[in-house]
């Protein structure tokens, strides 16, 4: 693991350090100006905040300028993202567009798709959701049943997607569906289509989280027409496209930092002279976060396309297809996600055990309301984006090689 990485030489370049200070200052003033009360567990959807982030050029910041990007390094995006997470900034509106849809479009999209969607995402005006999971396709994503039938000039899509975050507020979503019947190799015959969420035949119903929060939805697609121009990449290559960027999706700071603001509040609550037990817990939490961050940073740096990249998407050659770097960090990314999501719970447990608060949804104190929210949301992180069990199987396969 991390064979090519020299951790001792890994440090943030000056540009990233400068950005770190800028974002830190930005969130301090903007969150105060918006009178925003942060929540933990569910990232909040806040179009006004998203517009202000966009105004600073921090959505799609690694993308080419001609598509509304800033051509900045992936490491700078890493720094920007972690600063947002550190204060639970409400990034849900631009989250998937910035992290997933944009890079996918850059890599696989047509020129027309890029021009239509990328600047709109970068300007904080177009929000994307992801249509992957289905009632019978969770960890086993290749089991998707939503199907698209060929019609004149496009496709007719029918099926059901679940756990679609923010579908009720997004403009469009990427739908992974079957464009050819399963002919034995389940990974063939899948495609990615862009479906606009106000298209005729689309019905969105809320799935409420156990604390009443509405972020998830189920989306029903009933004979929805999708024109050919909205096919992403190649018909039949959907599986490869969906899995190709997992290293980035799995290794980012959002995999270990979603409960970090509770850590900050825990330090505040414990005061400047904690007892031995509390001090030990704080030290351990800090050491573990610092170590995770070093791993996550290493992946971000290794996958960084660098300033010469035409595509603004990590590890990809301008010709498309083969990665520019020979390093495949999918396993390392899975490790970071696996450990990171468990780390997030360690913060929750330390907070509960050291402070002995009876949690209530009515809490007004910041520490107590973070605690109440994170306890309830704790099961989610080790499920979404690859369950612990699936990740560990993937890691073990890499370790063990083929066994007969």
């Amino acid at each position: 693991m991390f064979d090519q990485v020299d951790f001792s030489a890994l440090e943030l370049p000056a540009a990233a350090r400068k950005l770190q200070q800028e974002v830190r200052e930005f969130v301090r003033t903007e969150l105060a100006a918006l009178d925003f009360k942060p929540r933990l567990g569910h990232t909040e959807f806040h179009p006004e905040f998203t517009r202000r982030v966009a105004a600073r050029g921090w959505i799609g910041m690694t993308w080419p300028k001609r598509y509304g990007g800033q051509e900045r390094s992936y490491l700078e995006r890493f720094v920007m993202t972690e600063e947002m997470l550190a204060v639970a900034a409400p990034c849900a509106a631009h989250w998937f567009g910035d992290r997933q849809t944009g890079p996918s479009l850059l890599r696989y999209g047509t020129e027309e798709q890029k021009q239509r969607f990328l600047p709109a995402i970068a300007h904080g005006e177009c929000y994307f959701a992801l249509g992957m999971s289905e009632p019978n396709a969770g960890s086993d994503l290749a089991a998707v049943k939503t199907r698209a039938e060929r019609v004149a000039n496009g496709w007719r899509v029918t099926g059901q997607k679940v756990w679609t975050s923010w579908a009720h507020k997004a403009h469009a979503f990427f739908v992974l569906c079957r464009t050819a019947p399963d002919g034995g190799n389940r990974h063939e015959g899948l495609s990615q289509l862009i479906v606009e969420l106000d298209a005729p035949g689309v019905t969105i119903r809320p799935i409420r989280f156990m604390n009443g929060h509405h972020g998830f939805n189920e989306v029903f697609l009933d004979n929805v027409f999708v024109p050919d121009e909205m096919v992403v990449g190649e018909v039949g290559q959907g599986w490869k496209q969906v899995t190709s960027e997992l290293a980035l999706e799995r290794s980012g700071p959002e995999r270990y930092m979603t409960t970090f603001p509770l850590f900050t509040e825990l330090v505040r609550r414990l005061g400047n002279a904690p007892d031995a037990r509390a001090a030990e817990a704080l030290g351990s939490l800090a050491a573990r976060l610092w170590s995770l961050r070093r791993m996550s940073l290493a992946i971000a740096m290794t996958l960084d396309p660098g300033p010469d990249s035409e595509k603004g998407t990590p590890g990809i050659t301008p010709g498309g297809g083969a990665p520019a770097a020979t390093v495949d960090l999918a396993t390392e990314a899975a490790l970071v996600k696996d450990m990171g999501t468990f780390y997030e719970r360690e913060i929750i447990d330390a907070a509960r055990l050291l402070c002995a608060v009876e949690p209530t949804p009515e809490a007004t104190d910041t520490f107590e309301h973070y605690l109440a929210e994170t306890i309830v949301c704790a099961p989610v992180a080790t499920i979404r984006g690859g369950t612990t069990e699936v990740l560990r199987s993937l890691i073990a396969r890499k370790l063990l090689g083929p066994l007969k």
């Binding site: 550190a86 704080l282 030290g283 073990a396 063990l400």
Partner: protein, 361 residues
């Protein structure tokens, strides 16, 4: 661009390759078994010393190889991986103390004292120094030619290169049978040319930090070896008609183990880089010792669990790694001691300083 930042420099890659080859060629089951009896391997030391590995990070004009702290870190990780039974880390740290004080570094294996914060007093006696003190569990003292002591002199901290034969040494050992000896200095005479004021930044606290970092690096390597053995065993051993690595229960444990090892390597090497750059070193070293010791705890037990009864025997190689992990995690402060120290520093800094402290690379 980023190739330069994250990928090995060619020089370091060559160092890693040659050191790995050296230890792989030299360290075998016979040597490790002999070292259990004799406390160390003198033949291995000769070869490693000839390759200039112990003083790799010491400036050339001070008698070293002119490399960086990160070079030393790379070497210690490899030494840990092969369970090299020699005082490599201690000689490197002794070299740092001596070079900082402008003293000549003698040939042969060296060690350092004190390692538990004890006080060694130094008083002037004519042209010589006289040193006194009782120090617990000094690593490798009985095989070291010199003990490099950080003593309390009348005008501040003094570095003295003490002839080990002048000290009263009571043999002891750690769980891996490495010498950890009690040392008494009873008015030991040191010629004036062998003692000098310690460099700025060389004190009991930084000495302990260097020791902790060295143990973190050794543990990272030992964890890598334990994982290699466990993975290999899972691909070779069959039960219930198939390789045990085909069982998901085993796979899940190995994956968890791989995560612990990766975290240990990342933490230990990152801390070496931080200390080399002088940035955020206190947090980095503490974090490295905490994280590697935690990984040692989880990793050693998974390694044994995967091996079943085979792994606990004296003839199978795993114990060379796991016994060292269990010994090293306690030395120079265990994870609880470092976590309390780090936690107190974080609390003293206050909530608003937490995130900036964690991200000051």
């Amino acid at each position: 661009m980023n190739d330069r930042l994250t990928e090995m420099s060619d020089v370091r890659a060559m160092l890693i390759e040659s050191a790995t080859r050296l230890f792989a060629d030299q360290v075998d089951a016979k040597m490790l078994a002999a070292a259990k009896q004799e406390g160390w391997s003198a033949p291995l030391w000769k070869i490693v010393e000839a390759a200039q590995l112990p003083l790799v990070s010491i400036a050339e004009d001070a008698g070293g190889a002119g490399g960086s702290l990160s070079d030393l870190a790379a070497v210690l990780r490899i030494a840990g991986r092969f369970a090299a039974p020699i005082p490599l880390a201690e000689t490197a740290i002794a070299g740092w103390l001596l070079a900082g004080a402008g003293l000549k570094i003698p040939a042969g294996p060296l060690t350092i004292a004190p390692v538990h914060g004890e006080t060694i007093t130094a008083r002037k006696d004519g042209a010589r120094w006289k040193l006194s003190g009782a120090i617990k569990r000094v690593p490798w003292a009985r095989i070291a030619g010199h003990i490099v002591v950080l003593a309390a002199g009348p005008d501040g901290a003094l570095v003295a290169c003490v002839d080990a034969t002048q000290c009263k040494i009571t043999a002891g050992r750690n769980l891996a049978h490495e010498p950890r000896d009690d040392v008494v200095l009873d008015d030991v005479a040191v010629a004036s040319g062998l003692a000098a004021p310690a460099a700025d930044g060389a004190n009991l606290s930084t000495l302990r930090a260097r020791g902790a970092l060295a143990r973190a690096l050794l543990m990272a390597g030992a964890l890598e070896r334990a994982l290699e053995l466990a993975v290999r065993y899972a691909t070779e051993r069959s039960q219930f008609g198939r390789k045990i690595g085909q069982f998901q229960a085993i796979q899940q444990e190995l994956a968890r183990f791989a995560g612990e090892v990766a975290a240990a390597v990342a933490a230990a090497l990152s801390a070496a880089g931080a200390l080399e750059r002088g940035e955020n070193a206190a947090l980095a070293v503490a974090a490295a010792k905490i994280r590697t010791a935690q990984a040692a705890h989880a990793g050693a037990l998974i390694a044994h669990q995967v091996h079943g009864a085979i792994g606990v025997t004296d003839e199978y190689a795993l114990h060379h790694s796991t016994l060292r992990l269990w010994a090293w995690r306690e030395e120079f402060g265990n994870e609880a001691a470092w976590a309390m120290e780090l936690g107190r520093a974080i609390a003293a800094g206050g909530a608003e300083r937490l995130w900036p402290a964690l991200t000051r690379d």
